[in-house]
């Protein structure tokens, strides 16, 4: 998306997104076709194809930054579609506090998830930190249709698009996200129809004419896919991104999806299993881009175009026909000879040599050394997690210096990079989070289902028998896990699987936490993400919830107003014990160690 200050015109933005070599050389065609798909006839060469209608980035608009801004009262409203930050995001407590600062919140989900009920029954209400009467957020909970109740496509991480067809009508007021977005847009456009404000043109100029069908006026998902696929000036569906032009004669909602509706046929709905021994099933669904099942597959052949291995041959050069061929669609310029040398000043696709299989890299080569594009390159390196009980055995730099930390009173961390970072007596163990098969992410699709909830009803914590003995944790009993963010309770599962690590010259115990639980649903429990800080990687802002330092003690956590003082008292510095003591660094037992405390 364009940055306000840097990309005032379409030409600036195209220049920014264009590489000298390979298929990013055609960025102008991709962008112009995208603008044509969105604003149709209103998008002309004279008005920069409505480039001015695009929203602009004015800073960091990532989800975590937005949550912190929300907490500080800088965000008015928020729409949550199938996402449950009150359980599923790092430092989920912070997210609940942040949602309580909104004026309005729209939640579209299958059930009454925690992000829609935090104001009524969230842990902060129980702890007395928030009062329902004191929360001004107006929450709109809109029931959503499940995938079985709507047409649409799934795109897997293998880039495969697979179409699914509605099996039943959604019950009651449940509606698909497509229905919601289309009719919201329709109603907004109707309300603005008489407007002469320039700012409203971006909405009024949109192509918003999808056909609807059935008793619920459901927009046709196939029509949306056809628009994404794109068409030429005569309205004929495109058969691939090679057809895209930068002169406004083509439209395409997403260039890598061009061809998914080739010949006017929904290619993603194909269901012909693979034939033959190659394992490729080109007629099952459709893979972006260009139905290629393995990207950069020209690399399966040696520089001279012959397969590296005859047994595993995949794509190769056929000299007789002068074309690349094989089991898959060749991910290469199909008639470019293996020994082709581009002209000295060639640009874009023409600049690709016969030995440049990595079409989307600026030099056509695979990269181990990445001098460009990464916030923390150019070479892979080992860093310890943001919170770690040990130093970095390889470098003086302990954790990734480019990681983003979001300093805030509600987002505290362990001692960081300073001295003693590897020796925090308050939080001597490492906790990690993961999923189990019985539940789905933050539980919105599983903890509200009887059949799944009964398989894993209670939040649990996994510890090794040695750690259980060290902390007096009883199998099936309760334990409290505490970090500088919060404390949660869980039932104890003692297992050899949670093997201690031998690092930094000592035995380091792990505390395993599934992260599916929250305060709502048929199987309620404390949220593991309450324990983690918001710290994200510098490239794609993925949260670090695989490692943090913690403590674990026997018994249930303090209730009500006793919870925060417990967390805060645990965060106070501790005296170090004389070395040689097996339990060095283990804090004294807490008063509630053997049972529930508080009310």
């Amino acid at each position: 998306m364009p940055v306000a200050a840097s990309h005032p015109t379409l030409s600036d933005y195209i220049t920014y997104g264009t590489a000298g070599k390979g298929f990013w050389g055609n960025t102008g065609a991709y962008l112009t076709s995208l603008l044509k798909a969105w604003w149709g006839d209103a998008a002309t060469a004279d008005n920069d194809y409505c480039y001015g209608h695009l929203p602009r980035l004015t800073g960091d608009h990532s989800a975590y930054r937005t949550a912190l801004d929300m907490l500080d009262g800088k965000v008015e409203g928020y729409l949550l579609f199938g996402e449950n930050p009150a359980v599923g995001s790092a430092n989920s407590r912070l997210h609940r506090l942040a949602l309580a600062q909104l004026d309005w919140l729209v939640v579209r989900d299958l059930g009454e998830i925690e992000s829609a009920t935090f104001w009524r029954d969230g842990p902060e209400i129980e702890a007395g930190e928030l009062r329902t009467e004191g929360i001004a957020t107006e929450v709109f909970l809109l029931p959503a249709a499940a995938h079985t109740e709507k047409d649409g496509s799934f795109t897997n991480t293998e880039r495969l698009l697979q179409w699914h067809t509605k099996a039943v009508e959604p019950a009651g007021d449940c509606r698909s996200d497509l229905w919601f977005c289309f009719h919201l847009g329709r109603i907004l456009r109707e309300k603005l129809a008489m407007s002469s404000e320039r700012r409203d043109r971006s909405l009024l100029d949109l192509t918003w004419d999808y056909p609807t069908e059935g008793p619920l006026a459901e927009p046709s998902a196939a029509a949306v896919l056809a628009e994404i696929n794109g068409c030429d000036a005569d309205g004929r569906p495109l058969d691939g991104y090679g057809r895209l032009a930068d002169d406004g004669s083509t439209s395409c909602g997403c260039w890598i999806y061009a061809g998914c509706y080739a010949d006017g046929v929904n290619q993603t709905a194909r269901r012909r299993p693979g034939q033959g021994p190659s394992g490729v099933a080109p007629d099952w669904g459709w893979a972006w881009p260009d139905n290629r099942r393995i990207l950069y597959n020209r690399a399966s052949a040696a520089p001279d175009g012959t397969p590296w291995s005859q047994r595993k041959r995949y794509v190769w050069w056929d000299g007789a026909s002068g074309r690349w061929t094989g089991h898959d669609r060749p991910d290469f310029v199909v008639d470019r000879e293996p020994d082709h040398v581009p002209a000295p000043h060639a640009r874009g696709v023409a600049a690709l040599g016969g030995c440049d299989p990595f079409l989307l890299q600026a030099d056509g080569k695979g990269w181990l050394y990445a001098p460009d594009g990464l916030a923390d390159g150019p070479l892979p390196a080992h860093y310890e997690p943001h919170e770690s009980p040990v130093g970095n055995p390889l470098y003086r730099q302990r954790a990734n210096p480019a990681r983003r930390r979001f300093p805030h009173a509600a987002n505290p961390s362990g001692p960081g990079d300073g001295p003693g970072a590897g020796d925090d007596r308050r939080y001597p163990f490492v906790t990690t989070t993961y999923r189990i098969a019985e539940h789905h992410t933050a539980g919105g699709m599983s903890r509200f289902q009887r059949r799944l909830s009964e398989l894993a009803r209670e939040m649990f914590v996994e510890v090794h028998p040695e750690l259980a003995a060290l902390r007096g944790l009883e199998r099936g009993g309760w334990a409290t896990i505490v970090t500088s963010r919060s404390a949660i309770e869980a039932r104890v599962l003692v297992t050899e699987r949670m093997a201690p690590l031998e690092v930094g010259g000592r035995r380091l115990h792990q505390v395993g936490l599934p992260y599916h639980w929250g305060h709502g649903g048929l199987a309620p429990g404390d949220a593991a993400n309450d324990l983690f800080p918001i710290v994200v990687d510098p490239n794609v802002t993925i949260q670090e919830v695989k490692a943090a330092t913690c403590d674990i003690v026997a018994g249930r956590r303090p209730r009500g107003a006793a919870l925060r003082p417990f967390v805060e008292s645990h965060a106070r510095p501790r005296d170090t014990s004389p070395s040689g003591d097996e339990n060095a660094g283990v804090p004294a037992p807490f008063p509630h160690q053997n049972g529930a405390v508080g009310g």
Binding site: A437, E438, R457, F460, E496, R497, A499, E502
Partner: protein
């Protein structure tokens, strides 16, 4: 797949009089419990009352009236066996996590059926064993008779319940719900004769791959239940999975019990006759 299986994975229309069964290959069970969920959804089986067992990832516990499939999770060995080393997985070779989906065995000599006084239990045209709830009087004889502890009375309605191998689905030429839902084909459904052959071949494969303790369970037709209609490939002894190593249909002992009772009665009668004869013949010596 044989001609006895139709396009929907169930018995083909012509496959009458053929015994069908399960082959559960625990070596490829991933513990997802899709079988448990599919079974409950299709058969309308109520929730079971357990909450958290602290026994690995098994919160179902045992087969019963409200659990017709049960995935056992067995954690064997130790990850800290003194081998030292560094990092995750050090010493992990001594540890393994076994999973196996248990189910009604559909015995060749079904004890539940043999003791049922009302005829509620019957053998179907597919050689499977099914309870008819509208005939069951809830006496519970079958519960104590089953050598596997499979069948159980349901608290809410008093009737005895267990796996039907989805009798209704089979009559509709569909495979049982658990087998259809199993993502790895750990649960296979088919004509029992074919499954027996397949199970033996798979065992040879698994043993050759180094699982020396692997064995088939329910495959031996001379065992105490005459072999089962639900075969299992286990990676260790049955006890490890809490399966009885030597299940016996109690009624198998009936003939011998009656014979013994008869012999005892005869001996008693002879003794009595002898004592009477002795009584007339000349007094007792004390």
């Amino acid at each position: 797949m044989s001609g006895l299986i139709g396009p929907e994975g169930g018995p083909a229309p012509g496959a009458t009089g053929v015994r069908f069964g399960f082959f559960t290959d625990s070596s490829i069970c991933i513990g997802c419990k899709a079988c448990e969920v599919a079974c409950k959804e299709w058969n309308g089986v109520p929730d079971h009352p357990l909450d958290f067992t602290a026994n690995s990832y098994d919160n179902t516990g045992t087969l019963g009236a409200n659990a017709w499939r049960h995935v056992a999770f067995v954690e064997q060995g130790t990850t800290t066996s003194g081998r030292g080393g560094n990092g995750p997985g050090a010493g992990a070779a001594d540890f393994r996590w076994l999973m196996s989906s248990d189910v009604c065995k559909h015995c060749s000599s079904p004890a539940c059926l043999e003791v049922c006084p009302t005829g509620a239990l019957f053998t179907t045209e597919f050689g499977t064993v099914v309870v008819q709830d509208d005939v069951c009087n809830g006496c519970g004889y079958c519960v104590t008779a089953c050598p596997f502890g499979v069948i159980e009375r349901r608290e809410s309605d008093g009737g005895a319940w267990k796996c039907t191998m989805c009798y209704d689905r089979m009559r509709g030429a569909r495979e049982p719900a658990c087998a259809q839902a199993c993502p790895t084909d750990s649960i296979q459904f088919g004509p029992l004769d074919e499954l027996r052959v397949r199970a033996s071949a798979r065992l040879a494969e698994v043993v050759a791959a180094g699982e020396e303790r692997a064995q088939l369970y329910g495959h031996d037709q001379t065992d105490g239940v005459g072999g089962t209609g639900a075969l299992f490939l286990l990676l260790d002894d049955p006890e490890v999975y809490r399966l009885p190593p030597d299940p016996v249909t109690p009624t198998r002992r009936l003939a011998r019990m009656w014979a013994m009772a008869g012999a005892a009665a005869g001996a008693l009668a002879a003794l009595l006759a002898g004592s009477l004869a002795g009584g007339t013949g000349g007094g007792r010596h004390r």
